[in-house]
Symmetry: C2
Subunit: 363 residues, 2 copies
């Protein structure tokens, strides 16, 4: 086995999750990720933790969704009961074929998300991490050879996370006490977001591996303006391109997409919270030096910001504040490398992808 697989497993079990003896662990993985699962099982065995292995088969998911009436979706009580007794959840991505769900009707994904929301909420109470095993399907999607993609993934995940945390702490210092964030990019993005009272979180690869961003939660009713997401996103196995949204009092009032707009509409119609922002994130992992059509990596890229429609991350929202709630959490990316700026309380903290604390420019 590639020794980097075992390193990856060690990062997951020691850095991301700190799995203890007798912890009930759920691992969810596609069959392409068997090497990583094996390496994790070694670690879990050493620690005396108790694993359950869920197989994410995109082909099975497709078959089910195509055969199913969306009105029949209900919460799977057995899966909820399992999650309630679970301490640690390790979710692994890795596709045979990233287009496996391309012929599933757009309404099915949101219907599934709604049905599974109680399981999602329960999972968010646990220790959890989402990571990626490098597969040929994902390499192909990224337009990379398999070996180059493996190098790319392992550079991004098997790294010095303390050093990354220190780099990001500089932005947390600015964003945590901030009231208002103003994001401008080209002619089509000009957005004002209040983050007053919210916590800015330093993502050093604990919940997402790779990590490498600083994120916070918008005040749900505060978002005003328009945004053009110039990087595509993949949702329910389908690519949505060139999303444009207009916000008024926090709510999406117009939306369009150059490709798969119906899926975007379905996402927005999932529930009330799906029309509001749950997250503002700023990508800071410079080892992720290219776009790979995988949100887990793309949103951490340097010189990008991302916004998520839907559920806010609890960690960002103090108890006395209102958190946006939704069965969705859909990240979308804006490239900030050119003709762009991020202002915090009237001061420019990033210009064309470079932070003020990196080159000391004046706002």
């Amino acid at each position: 086995m590639d020794p980097r697989v075992r390193e990856h497993a060690a990062v997951i079990v020691e850095h991301c999750c700190d799995v203890s003896a007798e912890d009930n662990v759920v691992i969810g993985a596609p069959s392409t990720a068997e090497n990583l699962v094996v390496a994790l099982y070694e670690r879990l065995g050493e620690r005396g933790a108790r694993p359950a292995l869920h197989w994410s088969s995109a082909r099975a998911g497709r078959a089910y969704a195509r055969a199913m009436n969306p009105d029949d979706y209900r919460t799977a009580e057995h899966r909820l009961a399992e999650m309630e007794e679970t301490d640690v959840v390790i979710m692994i991505g890795g596709s045979h074929n990233t287009a496996e769900q391309s012929d599933v009707s757009a309404e099915m994904g949101p219907a599934r998300s709604r049905a599974h929301e109680p399981i999602l909420q329960e999972r968010l109470e646990k220790q959890w991490v989402l990571t990626q095993h490098p597969t040929t399907g994902n390499a192909q999607k990224a337009g990379m050879s398999t070996e180059a993609y493996e190098d790319f993934v392992y550079r991004a995940v098997n790294k010095d996370w303390d050093e990354q945390r220190e780099f990001q702490a500089q932005l947390v210092e600015v964003l945590d006490p901030a009231n208002e964030v103003h994001i401008v990019s080209g002619d089509s993005t000009d957005l004002t977001i209040s983050v007053e009272g919210m916590h800015a979180v330093n993502d050093n690869g604990k919940l997402n591996l790779p990590g490498g961003e600083v994120f916070t939660a918008p005040v749900p009713d505060s978002v005003e303006g328009e945004v053009h997401f110039d990087k595509p996103l993949v949702r329910y196995g389908r690519e949505i391109q060139d999303v444009r949204l207009t916000f008024e009092k926090g709510k999406v009032i117009t939306h369009e997409a150059a490709k798969n707009e119906d899926l975007l509409t379905s996402v927005l119609d999932t529930d009330d919270g799906a029309r509001r922002l749950g997250e503002l994130g700023i990508g800071m992992n410079r080892d992720i030096d290219r776009f790979s059509y995988n949100m887990l990596f793309d949103e951490k890229m340097g010189d990008t910001i991302h916004l998520a429609l839907g559920d806010a991350i609890d960690e960002c929202v103090p108890e006395e504040m209102e958190a946006n709630e939704s069965a969705q959490h859909v990240d979308m990316i804006v490239d900030m490398s050119e003709n762009s700026k991020i202002e915090v309380d009237g001061e420019v903290v990033q210009r064309d992808g470079t932070f003020r604390f990196e080159d000391g420019f004046e706002g």
Copy 2:
């Protein structure tokens, strides 16, 4: 996809389990069985049932067992909680490599069985079925080409189960009211078993697919004599050959095996019930016309009987009777095709593999 895969799925969901809308279903399968899983998901989607997919990875299981201290095995509460909320369990076999667990220490399997016994007992309360997807690993183990093995498997599973039930009903009529069964084969098997008060069950492929046997439960303290299992069995991925047991008052008092005797010892030492018989079965599926080193098929072969150490099947044991209880249920086979007979209450019902109701011989 081979159309026989979808036929197999239809037999599972319609004949074996009768899955209803809103049933919580668990499918456990190796990644080699993805086609069958996909076909099952189609059926479950049509019915509005709610599946969870467990991945049986023999490589992960091996890694865990080798890293683990057997004293650390505990019941996985999250898996138990899931099972409590489950209505239907579909377990699918299908090996990449049937020797995957050959370098796991013999004590680990029984330790795992003991820890998981509450989950097993819970599962036995549900609708459940164990079946097999034809894989290259299993074909190799059977000494068959992949295509010939596929034909063999689909002949055995996709059949007219009503017809099979009628054929077997003739033996149920004899065995259900019986008091004593006497099994003789060659010089090394001469065993007397009381089945007084127990139910003989007609296995027409509901719990095991393929089915094709009639089975009952021995009265736990009644078994006397010696038995030589001339067909090997595979337990925890290792082959145990030429098992010989001697019983006194129902209990194994001597045991030996030509290969992997330590594993047999571990099985017997699992708990008290593992030293007693939980099942007497008589194979009657004549489409299974060869031994394939897979108990699910082998025990249903015509001209064989099998005995299981360990847990009795509830269906056989009336409420007022004592059922043998154990975390084990280990089937072992005696070839009855030559120099053999089965007597029930002093009358020969099978001689050299042929039943009295087939050729009308006189006992």
